[in-house]
Symmetry: C2
Subunit: 543 residues, 2 copies
């Protein structure tokens, strides 16, 4: 027997309609070279429809991939809705990729138009020869350093300027592709994830849930996470659905500038990787900054070190640990405290808040022993690979049967993350499967060691990698960045002695090397591949 409810497709046309009618007066703010650009959802809506008309006139057809190469701005937000609502697919290109990956991705997706921020035009000019599918470049804002080689091209405002401000959206099936994003995999070619209208819609509801990011009309959201990084974690899509005010940082990502933007624009919710917040703490403390409107920073992309949680808490800033990946839309879990944990001591709360937390409604998970393939017990100790499934989890990669076969099995996404689970299903990632250090047949968590080392008062960042070892197979090497004021004033022994009371003896790194900075991937994660190759020849003797 079937239900007798309306067959109402879950498409982005619905949040678009909400934003432009119910929340028409709510503001969208963007930091630009000329100060702050402000307009309302009503203005935005008209321009979204002008953009759809312009795209239609430029020959865009259903399913065409329309790419962006830009910062977090109102124009990027216009593209977020215009492209999928008209039935095309928004492909957000990562502006920090290496040239060859970028070329690979544009060709793999067969992008037809690329929207590019003016200051980024020079990057594409060098590569446009190798992007034969691209028929048009639309330049957003001034491009003073451009040579004019990007052809044919048109200015964004000219492109949309003379178009009508209304557009009749086509009727779309909710499983229609809405957006795509390539994962910046550290091995092999980047892999395309294709989001559907349905998946983005449900993910937006998840973000709006009280036990999700609780995003609401009353919020002012600052997405620091780039709009090319898994849809800025879904914040902009969800903001339109619930009518939240949005504050875009533009290309100004310096922690001090971001901090002042948060204060001036009364930001209530911010989202970004740990690096930005690690960089912000000294600014906040030096300048004595206060964030009276901020209710939460949602942080993921890499494990949030406990020391960061404590440092922000000391400054009355509440950071919430989240976890996900491009393949999971990305929000999969969040570490909101459970009711019974609210009574706990600050110390115990910090311990929990350093975990990745509880899966959102819609995300099911299991943790599977890496060797045996059996599900591990929820005992807070046993670990294995985290696998997830749900309506906003990818089921395969675009054009990539082979990677899909290894990454997706029996209806589960194999995340490549190693996790433990407590008796209430609270998940803690201990490492990436490929970053675990296998010493004498036992596993050592590089992430746990990093988190502990970053708790040392003189340490800014730490990255632990496995180095080959004749006797133990692998041993941990700690690569440590001292805080600027302590450069040259912290020693290997300081770190080891700091760790000694906190871990089993055989977990202690064999050596500690001091480096200037931890190399980062294009989305701000620690790039262990680079460190591994730098210390390839490194090996220590054991007695």
């Amino acid at each position: 027997m079937q239900g007798l409810m309306m067959d109402f497709p879950l498409t982005l046309q619905h949040p678009f309609q909400r934003a432009t009618t119910l929340f028409r007066r709510r503001e969208i703010v963007t930091q630009t070279d000329d100060g702050l650009h402000r307009y309302t959802y009503a203005d935005w809506g008209k321009r979204v429809m002008q953009l759809a008309n312009a795209l239609k006139q430029a020959g865009t057809e259903d399913g065409d991939r329309i790419a962006t190469f830009g910062w977090n701005t109102y124009r990027h937000f216009e593209l977020y809705y215009a492209v999928p609502c008209m039935g095309a697919v928004l492909h957000t290109l990562n502006i920090r990729l290496f040239a060859e990956q970028l070329v690979y991705i544009v060709n793999d997706a067969q992008d037809k138009i690329i929207f590019v921020d003016g200051d980024l035009v020079p990057v594409l000019e060098k590569l446009s020869d190798q992007m034969p599918t691209v028929k048009l470049y639309v330049i957003m804002g001034d491009a003073p350093n451009a040579t004019g080689k990007l052809q044919p091209s048109i200015d964004y405002e000219t492109f949309i300027g003379s178009q009508p401000t209304s557009y009749t959206w086509p009727t779309l099936d909710e499983n229609t592709a809405a957006a795509m994003c390539y994962t910046s995999g550290t091995t092999g070619n980047p892999k395309g994830v294709v989001y559907s209208h349905r998946s983005i819609y449900l993910h937006s509801m998840g973000i709006g849930m009280a036990d999700g990011m609780a995003l609401a009309e009353r919020d002012s959201l600052l997405p620091i996470v780039p709009m090319f990084h898994a849809n800025a974690w879904g914040g902009p899509h969800a903001a339109a659905m619930v009518g939240a005010r949005v504050v875009f940082p533009g290309r100004f990502m310096d922690p001090r500038k971001v901090a002042h933007l948060m204060i001036d624009e009364k930001v209530t919710v911010a989202a970004g990787v740990p690096t930005i917040w690690i960089g912000m703490v000294p600014v906040v403390e030096r300048e004595g900054l206060k964030f009276p409107h901020l209710r939460a920073i949602y942080c993921g992309g890499s494990a949030v070190p406990r020391a960061l949680i404590e440092n922000l808490e000391r400054n009355n800033m509440n950071i919430v640990h989240a976890w996900g990946m491009t393949e999971t839309s990305p929000l999969a879990s969040l570490c909101n405290l459970r009711a019974y944990q609210e009574e706990w001591s600050q110390e115990e709360k910090f311990r929990v808040r350093a975990k990745q937390g509880t899966m959102l409604p819609g995300v099911e998970f299991r943790v599977v022993n890496i060797d045996s393939g059996q599900e591990v017990p929820w005992d807070n100790t046993s670990y294995g690979e985290l696998q997830v499934r749900g309506p906003w989890i990818a089921r395969m990669y675009y054009h990539d049967e082979e990677s899909s076969r290894t990454k997706f099995a029996d209806g589960w996404l194999r995340t490549g993350d190693v996790a433990t689970v407590d008796e209430d299903g609270i998940v803690q990632l201990v490492d990436r499967t490929k970053d675990l250090v296998k010493s004498g047949g036992e596993w050592i968590s590089s992430v746990e060691l990093e988190g502990l080392i970053m708790g040392h008062p003189k340490v800014l960042e730490a990255c632990v990698i496995a180095i080959p070892d004749a006797k133990w197979s692998e041993r941990p090497l700690a690569c440590v960045v001292a805080k600027p004021e302590f450069e040259g004033k912290v020693t290997k022994e300081d770190i080891i002695e700091f760790l000694r009371p906190q871990v089993a003896k055989w977990w202690l790194p064999d050596d500690v090397v001091f480096i200037d900075a931890v190399p980062k991937t294009s989305v701000g994660k620690f790039d262990k591949k680079v460190l591994r190759s730098r210390f390839e020849a490194y090996s220590t003797a054991h007695d």
Copy 2:
């Protein structure tokens, strides 16, 4: 181009799995004759699966209608999940219906089993002769007043007791029917609404949204609204999804008893029709009760009088006006204050909070002029019939082509409610289309008059109906219930003079009659049909 996300069906099996794993230690409390019954979601889950096994063994097949005739209890909550998760359809019968409606509904739905609370057995015993489709009665708890006529019957605990505590749910399409509920229409036969797994799932997410009821794991939810009234407004389903603690009142609905249950069990969220809260205010004030844990009362079913909002606010109780109907799952709109309204004066806030508010994500609406059929402008003044559509709105009635044709048109549900809309899409219901008073070619809102009269300090309840009038076609008659302490001490003139400065002269009721109580429908709404027939012969002369 299609998205490449998992085809993960939105069924109730997912929230069931969440509740019984992530939230296994969270509590479910029920008020019983013997005090409070307590167990956890883990206990609940085992019994849900025992129940599914028992139903299977009793011959339940996919799509079979399994009915309930009971109060809000943990057993009812077990049925809420066992029946749909196994692929059958839960049919919640309204225990307050007239016998002939009840018989009609059971036969229309072809219920196969009825689960009945012990104290309600006598009601069914009188009717079982007329319910040939029912093959089994399962009695929940003691039935001291039963004659034993209900046959075949079995005790609930005996029914499930020896069954295994695990069950392998079948794979269900998300559009499978999960539950059904008949509207207690005031005209014609009751009409069946058939909810799907998908609609209940999405509605649960909506309830969990920060701008919905914000239901979260940290909440303790008290559903006063009966579980046969549009799934208790969705609270129990959503509670399992988010892991909220639930407190069921059982058959003890007296305002004083409910108030003390709320305090003792640290209830954070309660949901029920205005009547219960109107009745609670004097108790709260007399006993000086405090509700330190309560964050919100969600109230709908009938318009919430502004005086009630003010009276509760004075006692530090936050009531949130909600609107919906059986056909809308039911939550369609909620009056959470918008960001810009938070700055307003208390007076202005009360004015807004008396409105039905903002539609939830997923609910689209329009307001259509009753005469012309054109959409009315959002000017806070123009009014018309409210029409809605969305993924948790019914598209037709069960077995009732004719009613479906008049009630559903062009993909919209015609709600029968008359509304105005302000420039931000905030909806206010001014009346039911059939309750508007048409005087001299103009409409008078009976609901608005009632709300104003109920603001009079000596008035408990007021109901305004149209009476025939030779000159004006119809004129308003106010039927007023005085507070017990003011019985006989409030006059027609008091009411009219109280209204005079607040409404246009021609809106003033021609007469005011004092009655003992406003007759209520089986779900607690004012039953104007009864009043109309009581005052049928009533008519006033005009000069």
